[in-house]
């Protein structure tokens, strides 16, 4: 029988209305969402909670390290396992996650990616949950003597998932043919933050898989008799990810965030856009540290590695160039002392000091390799990046959660982080000069009992480092409290869709943005399209932006 009957009109008069689609449970909606904005919020929440936990554990480790005459809080084996856990978790569970929160939310908005780009969002959601699922077993697995095997498997999974977000937003940032992106948007007109995420994604995809390869070898070795790495030597093949030059790869998003904030809070257009892009690219290139995967092994003298020396000094140059560009922007404008700008200034200072400390480390007469100087230098860069990520969260808070974060709270937190990181890293720098060895490197020696003789100066420096860790923990708590109070508390006033007078496309939509992000596609003629609408581009920028 052929089906030719016309379906009865279900909307005929008297027919019952179609039942309304039930609203999903908020928790279910968040957990199963493919919306990049929801995924960005999840990254933020996980990052802040883990930051609080990791910095607290770092404080306890700092207490143990003050005089190094023995262990009070941890067993000997547990101390070193927890040390490696916090060192790697700070970067891979906190920093990279925090650096993913803003890009997940903001990058598609900056290039005006419409609702049609759903496929990348599902991968981002999967990456979030893959990292969340694998990070929890990593924590208790190192608290038992035989915990190394579970740590390797979970950290490897976490790191593989860490590379997944760059795979998602990089195609979005690279695409110029998508009909849902802003018209006439080109690679040279993308905002500096999007460009920095493009560079960061490329560098992470080039370097972090090397770590994954090392972890695969370590896992197989550990499974079949520990013939290659034994119980300790695997640390030498992981150590490079937490030291220069690789540590600068994590700071690439920081320079993009700072560039965005300085221009908007300064109220002027960022000059020499392509020069700034080139400097960010150069800075990113100085963070390609995968070649050092075998450089920290015993018997290898880093001072013989000319590339390590050159990159250690050269990384200061693009950073100084960027700082010069930002200073010029601030000089031409009238900066507002918003908490995001304060965070950005703190981040710039920490990154600069970290880069200079890294340049000092490659000078052979100083003999700083293998000491806590390198640890302090890495902490300056890592926590400087973390502070910059917080600057981004404060700046893009209206887009992430619909309202700004507490301003007074924010300024206090920026100062807390400044003091805390300087104490934390400064203590290690000060202890490194009298050649206090990097604790974890010493621990790999056979027969090491955990006792190291240190003099009073080093004890004081280690004590300062512990206090710094406690202050950073307080700062992490303040940020988390600020976020929860702002987003869960009562909304007193509507700050508007663009409270800062933004320059880029994310501020052209509602705060928070609707599901489809934009109602219509904008025409882009420069990297600061909203500023173009308010004022025409100056003559000196026309060559850069067109």
């Amino acid at each position: 029988m052929a089906v030719t009957d016309t379906r009865p009109d279900t909307t005929a008069e008297g027919a019952p209305d179609a039942p309304a689609t039930p609203r999903p449970d908020p928790v279910v909606a968040a957990l199963g969402s493919g919306d990049h904005k929801v995924v960005g919020r999840l990254y933020l929440v996980f990052a802040l909670v883990l930051a609080l936990a990791v910095t607290f554990v770092t404080t306890t480790l700092g207490y143990e390290r003050i005089d190094q005459s023995g262990f009070d809080l941890y067993a000997t084996d547990t101390y070193f396992q927890v040390s490696t856990l916090t060192a790697t978790s700070t970067v891979f569970l906190v920093l990279l996650r925090c650096c993913s929160a803003s890009p997940c939310t903001v990058v598609p908005l900056q290039i005006e990616l419409g609702a049609s780009a759903t496929r990348p969002r599902r991968r981002r959601s999967g990456a979030t949950w893959s990292r969340a699922r694998w990070s929890w077993p990593a924590t208790p697995s190192t608290a038992v003597p035989a915990g190394a095997t579970p740590w390797r498997s979970t950290s490897g999974s976490s790191r593989s998932a860490s590379s997944s977000p760059p795979c998602c937003w990089r195609p979005s940032a690279c695409s110029r043919r998508s009909s849902s992106t802003a018209r006439r948007m080109s690679l040279f007109r993308v905002p500096l933050f999007t460009w920095s995420m493009l560079v960061a994604g490329a560098v992470w995809l080039l370097t972090l898989p090397v770590l994954l390869g090392a972890l695969v070898l370590a896992y197989v070795d550990h499974r079949y008799g520990r013939l290659v790495f034994g119980n300790f030597d695997i640390w030498f093949y992981v150590h490079w990810t937490l030291r220069a030059p690789q540590v600068y790869a994590y700071a690439i998003p920081a320079v993009g965030i700072i560039a965005e904030i300085v221009a908007v809070m300064g109220g002027v257009r960022q000059g020499r856009h392509r020069v700034m892009m080139a400097l960010i690219g150069f800075f990113g290139a100085m963070g390609v540290g995968a070649y050092t995967v075998t450089a920290y092994t015993p018997g290898h003298d880093l001072y013989d590695d000319w590339m390590w020396i050159v990159m250690g000094i050269a990384v200061v140059l693009p950073l100084l160039g960027l700082v010069g560009g930002w200073a010029d922007t601030v000089r031409r404008g009238r900066p507002r002392l918003h908490s995001s700008l304060l965070f950005a200034v703190v981040a710039v200072l920490l990154l600069l000091v970290g880069a200079v400390a890294g340049a000092a480390a490659v000078i052979e007469p100083f003999e700083l390799v293998g000491t806590t100087w390198q640890q302090g230098q890495a902490q300056l860069v890592v926590f400087g990046t973390f502070v910059a990520a917080l600057a981004g969260i404060f700046y893009w808070a209206p887009k992430i959660g619909g309202r700004p974060l507490g301003e007074g709270f924010g300024r206090l937190t920026a100062l807390v982080f400044f003091g805390g990181v300087l104490l934390l890293a400064g203590g290690n720098l000060a202890a490194g000069f009298p050649d206090q060895v990097d604790h974890l490197l010493v621990s790999t020696q056979e027969g090491f009992t955990g006792v190291v003789e240190v003099d009073d100066t080093v004890e004081i420096a280690n004590g300062a480092s512990m206090v710094g860790a406690a202050v950073v923990t307080l700062g992490s708590f303040l940020v988390l409290a600020n976020v929860l109070a702002s987003y869960l508390g009562r909304r007193d006033e509507d700050p508007g869709d663009d409270p800062w007078g933004g320059h880029t496309l994310e501020w052209a939509t509602a705060s928070p943005p609707p599901r489809d992000n934009f109602d219509e596609v904008a025409m882009v003629t420069s990297p600061a399209p909203l500023l173009d609408e308010r004022e025409p581009a100056g003559d000196e920028e026309e060559g850069d932006d067109r």
Binding site: A214, V220, V228, V293
Partner: protein, 176 residues
């Protein structure tokens, strides 16, 4: 684009593994020791495996060439052949494992060889799966001469897989 970056990431992972392998080999030889000692890895199976993968790269590009010209029959045949070559490679690798005389838990060298080649088999499996899914989608009527990005991505990833084995072939089977 995503396939290119994934291929690059895999390449860097193997670069790291081969870097560690070659660094340990170099340190052992510099100390006057022997790397593989009395173990003899036959050369014929790895050479056949390399040749098989080179042929599979040709058939993969044949599939892309055919889909661009809307020659679907040739595209199906080429994709199928490529997957068959992949299966042949896996079979050859299994045979080589039986002939090598290396036991994974006996020495550090054996562990490294099995870890690297085993990971490569996993990458090849992913490439074969990618190509198989692409083939099924082509059979379902997808892909046109102007819109065939998935086929391009699958072929690009297959090329990377072949190239990476080239480095493994030289570092492990030729250099020994």
């Amino acid at each position: 684009m995503a396939s290119a970056w994934a291929a690059t990431a895999f390449g860097m992972a193997f670069a790291g593994m081969l870097g560690i392998y070659l660094q340990m080999r170099s340190a052992t030889l510099a100390d006057g020791g022997e790397w593989l000692g009395d173990v003899t890895i036959p050369l014929t199976p790895p050479n056949v495996m390399m040749a098989t993968l080179v042929m599979s790269a040709v058939t993969a590009h044949w599939a892309h060439y055919a889909i661009v010209r809307n020659d679907r029959v040739n595209a199906y045949v080429a994709m199928g052949l490529t997957i068959v070559f992949g299966v042949a490679f896996v079979n050859s690798q299994g045979f080589l494992y039986s002939q090598m005389g290396l036991v994974v838990a006996d020495s550090a060298q054996a562990m490294l060889v099995y870890a690297i080649t085993g990971t490569y088999l996993a990458m090849l499996g992913i490439a074969m799966l990618y190509l198989a899914v692409t083939a099924f989608r082509a059979l379902g009527g997808q892909f046109t001469p102007t819109q065939h990005d998935t086929v391009t991505g699958a072929v690009l990833f297959w090329d990377a897989t072949v190239a990476i084995f080239g480095f493994i072939w030289i570092a492990i089977y030729i250099a020994k």
